[in-house]
Every structure is written in structure tokens, then in C-alpha cells.
């Protein structure tokens, strides 16, 4: 399941920008909890960029209740969350 995320992370792929690398620096940390395919914590590979972005924004604004993600989503700007969602959703 995490192969898709791993496949994401080639740094020197043509045209990768510093902004993209900085998005990657955030997104790599998602895998700490979302790498194993356990029923407790879902992987992100079946979600589209739009779905991930909506969920992250809803966690941030407490529209979507959860135990942990609202505390984490508040650490990033909406732009950062969108970039992370695009990054994860592409893979």
C-alpha cells in the first residue's frame, strides 16, 4: 500500500521545485502513522487529492471530528495542506 507513496518521493525528477521539495518534507511525515495497512489507521492511497484536501481543511476547522488529526492539521496553512493533498493524491 505504501508503494504508491514511496513511488512519490524521487527528489531529482525533472522539474521538481524547491516548493515541491518543501511539500514533500511535510508529506513524508504522514507516513509515520499511515504507512501500515492496519484497520486502526487507514492508508491514504485510495483517496483523491480533493478528498484529502477537504478532510485536512475540515480537520483544521474542527468540522470533521477526530482524535488527533485536528491537532496536526492546525499546524499548516491552507496552501500547505492543499499542496500536501495534491502531492499525496497524485501518487
Amino acid at each position: 500500500m505504501i508503494r504508491l507513496v514511496i513511488a512519490a518521493i524521487g527528489l531529482l525528477a525533472a522539474g521538481i521545485s524547491l516548493a515541491e521539495i518543501e511539500t514533500q518534507a511535510i508529506a513524508l511525515n504522514c507516513r509515520n502513522c499511515h504507512a501500515a495497512d492496519s484497520s486502526e489507521i487507514p492508508t491514504l492511497t485510495n483517496l483523491s487529492a480533493e478528498q484529502i484536501n477537504r478532510m485536512l481543511l475540515d480537520y483544521k476547522s474542527d468540522k470533521l471530528p477526530a482524535t488527533l488529526m485536528p491537532r496536526i492539521a492546525k499546524g499548516y496553512s491552507d496552501e500547505e495542506l492543499k499542496a500536501v493533498a495534491d502531492y499525496l493524491g497524485r501518487r
Partner: protein, 432 residues
């Protein structure tokens, strides 16, 4: 002990072991740098640093030097005291890192770092040259801080703060103790590995004692005035272990103003500055800590005993081509945890690849999440998001992070499950 959480945990552990992953398929980029990065230490930080470097740039040769063939994780090791796991489930090896990611494994220990000539010497006699060195040596103990206590004492009074034989020794002592015995847990001042660890440990031991030796007691002697997730732990202890009543299974005492001054090994008695004597049938003395030996001998530590780093890259403040990550390094206010080591390692790997390819350093974020179990069905957590502040120091992002909601019983059950899931994910991400 055949409760839901144990079954789920073992199920998850089995699932973790069965899964395989061809990581090489994921390496999509390769520079012509032909640089060689040596990583010293195969704990959570070193393992994920080596793996991430290979994933980011397959043109970089990566060597991981670690003397042990397998590693027993400290995260999850407290769960052993409640009967939720065992040493086998806590053991990981380096086969996937070698086979799937092309990391060159050297099963040896580093005897010396020659920073001027950029090479490390291993006990087997080989000198290994590097372009950049990533040090993840973890912790060593300060054995000389309590009169009457020393390195040999740990065989009688286990610290169990590096998982393995010490964990089993502590478990055996607790199981052999009479009902009505006292377990003393001595907690050092910060910084030390895993700030909430002693309190999760007390909880897991209490859970087992409550069922098997309910007249017993745990006394935590704490060099600090307060501790991580304190309100959540205390609420959990009140709910499950009678905290606040005369029959409390767990008693926490701050001895910040009345520190330990001696150990009488014959009687298992600790003495404080004011002359208080605390006797335990089991003494779990967690000594103060410092960066691992090779970091100290390589001139990477300051007077604090830890390694100061330039946080954006993890570069040592003393050696431009050496990076330090994980518990040995000073990343405060990020706590010393396996999760944080993983996050530090990824930021460091991004920086190393940028430096080797002549690119600017990216701005990075760090993340820490830490779950603790109070019972197998009562989990709590703390999280923090970190980035560089205006002064280029690591700062916690305001408004983010923090601890679980107090008194939310449904969340506590969910978080107990997430604790197991997050552990398995962290292991998979780091070693799988």
C-alpha cells in the same frame, strides 16, 4: 489477557510481518553524484535516514553501520509489562533495508570517527570513507549520578530504558514479587528518551498488578515537578487504579526539591536529600542520559552531553560534514522520541541530498506524535508540529498540537487502537 486490544495488537503484528514491499520499484530518481553517505546506528532515526536517502536519490550509495542483527524497539516495550506483546513482536531486522533499498549493511560497531579525513573506523579494522556522515547513536546512561549505583547495578535494578534483556529482567522481578510488594520507578530530570515513557510504564505494570498482585503499589519518584500528559495520566490512574484514594496502585511524588542522594543495594533502599528512605522490592532506576558514546568521543557533544545541530540540515555545530539525528541530538523543544527521530531523519535526508547535489536547503517541518496506553483500552496522545521560527530556532507551531481531550471515553478507546496502529506504521515506515 485475551482482551480485544491484545488480539488486535497480535493480529496487527502478524499482518506487519507478513507484508512485503519491493521498495526499489519506488526509487524513481538517480543523480550522478556517486556520493557515499554513511549512517551510524540502526535505531528508528538511522534506519529511516538510510532508507529515505536511497528513496530520494538512488545515485547516492548508503552504508548503514549497526552491530546488532536485529533491533528491539523501545516504543511498545512498556506494553510487555501488561502482557500485550513480547520481545519477538518488538524485534525488527535490517533485511528489507538491504534487499529492497540497496543499503549496504555493515554489522560492526564504530570505534572512531576521523572527521578530518572523513572516514569511520569499525571494530573489524576497516576504514569506511564518507562524503557525509549521519550519526544516530541514541543514548547512553550517566552511571555516576547516584552514589551506590553504577553500571553493574542495572543487572539488579534494571533501567529497561533500552529494550531487550533489561525489559525482561524488570518483568521477571515484578512477576516474582510478593503480592503487597512495592515497585519504585525513579525518573530523571529532562531531557531524557521518551518523556511520557515512565508513566505509561507505571500504567502497564499497574494493569498487570491489579489482576495478579492487587495489594501491591508503584511509587514514582520524579526528579521533575510535572510530566508529559500529566492530567490525562492522573485521570486514567484515578479511573482504573484508585489514584487519589488510600488504596491507590500508583503514587507519584516529585522529588525536585528533595533529590535522591544514595542507593543501598543490599536493602533496595533509596535515600533522598532530606533523609527520606524509600524501599522497593523492585527498583526500576532510570538513570540520567546523554548522547551515545561514539558521538561523545567524536567531539559532537557540548557540556550538556547532547549534540547541538543546525536544525534545518541536522548538521553538527562542530563538524560541517557530520549530521546528528534522533535522541542523541539537541532538537528541543522536539522531544526525544522514535517518532521525532523519524521526522528529524527525513528532514536531514532532504538536506543531505540537497547539499550533495548543490541545491538550496529546503524549509522543513517536523512532527511528533506520541501515544501512551493507560490500560489496553485507554489510550492518550500528545502531538506537536514544529518549524523554524524567525530566529531560525525550532519552535512549536502555535495553535497546533497538544494532548487528547480529557474525559472523552470514546476517544480513549479509539486512541488505544491507534497506539497499536501507529506503532506498526512507524516500524513499517522505518524498517520495512
Amino acid at each position: 489477557m485475551a482482551d480485544w486490544s491484545r488480539r488486535r495488537f497480535l493480529q496487527l503484528a502478524g499482518l506487519s510481518g507478513a507484508a512485503s514491499l519491493n521498495g526499489c520499484a519506488g526509487i524513481v530518481s538517480k543523480s550522478n553524484s556517486k556520493a557515499h553517505v554513511v549512517v551510524v546506528g540502526g535505531g528508528f532515526g538511522g534506519a529511516i535516514a538510510a532508507k529515505t536517502l536511497r528513496q530520494l536519490d538512488a545515485g547516492i550509495k548508503v552504508t548503514l553501520i549497526e552491530p546488532k542483527a536485529s533491533y528491539i524497539t523501545c516504543p511498545g516495550s512498556n506494553w510487555l509489562f501488561a502482557g500485550l506483546t513480547n520481545i519477538k513482536n518488538l524485534s525488527v531486522d535490517y533485511r528489507a533495508l538491504s534487499a529492497d533499498y540497496g543499503i549496504n549493511l555493515v554489522s560492526d560497531s564504530v570505534t572512531r570517527v576521523d572527521a578530518e579525513r572523513r572516514r569511520v573506523m569499525v571494530a573489524g579494522g576497516e576504514a569506511i570513507a564518507y562524503d557525509r556522515l549521519v550519526m544516530a547513536p541514541g543514548i547512553d546512561f550517566r552511571w555516576d549520578t547516584l552514589p551506590g549505583y553504577g553500571e553493574a547495578s542495572a543487572q539488579i535494578f534494571p533501567h529497561a530504558w533500552q529494550a531487550g534483556p533489561q525489559t525482561l529482567l524488570l518483568q521477571q522481578q515484578i512477576q516474582a514479587m510478593n503480592d503487597g510488594g512495592v515497585v519504585v520507578i525513579s525518573v530523571p530530570a529532562e531531557p531524557y528518551r521518551c518523556p511520557p515513557g515512565p508513566y505509561e510504564r507505571a500504567s502497564m505494570i499497574a494493569w498487570w498488578l491489579k489482576q495478579h498482585k492487587p495489594k501491591s503499589k508503584i511509587i514514582i519518584l520524579d526528579a521533575k515537578r510535572s510530566f508529559s500528559k500529566q492530567k490525562l495520566f492522573e485521570a486514567g490512574w484515578a479511573k482504573h487504579f484508585g489514584c487519589g484514594t488510600a488504596n491507590s496502585l500508583i503514587e507519584w511524588q516529585s522529588i525536585a526539591d528533595n533529590p535522591l542522594v544514595g542507593l543501598d543495594a543490599q536493602t533496595g533502599t533509596l535515600t533522598t536529600d532530606f533523609g527520606d528512605k524509600i524501599r522497593g522490592q523492585v527498583l526500576n532506576i532510570i538513570p540520567p542520559q546523554q548522547a551515545g558514546r561514539i558521538a561523545r568521543e567524536s567531539g559532537l557533544t557540548d557540556a550538556s552531553g547532547w549534540c547541538p545541530v543546525e536544525p534545518q540540515s541536522g548538521r553538527s555545530k562542530f563538524h560541517e560534514t557530520i549530521h546528528v539525528i534522533g535522541d542523541a541530538a539537541h532538537y528541543a523543544p522536539i522531544p526525544k522520541s522514535a517518532f521525532a527521530a523519524n521526522s528529524e531523519a527525513k528532514a536531514c535526508a532532504l538536506a543531505v541530498v540537497a547539499l550533495l547535489n548543490g541545491r538550496p536547503l529546503p524549509e522543513v517541518h517536523w512532527l511528533n506524535t506520541c501515544y501512551s496506553l493507560i490500560t489496553p483500552r485507554h489510550g492518550i496522545s500528545v502531538a506537536g508540529v514544529y518549524k523554524l521560527d524567525a530566529e531560525r530556532n525550532i519552535g512549536m507551531v502555535k495553535g497546533a498540537g497538544g494532548v487528547s481531550r480529557l474525559g472523552d471515553e470514546q476517544a480513549a478507546i479509539l486512541e488505544a487502537g491507534y497506539a497499536g496502529g501507529a506503532y506498526l506504521s512507524l516500524v513499517r515506515d522505518s524498517f520495512g
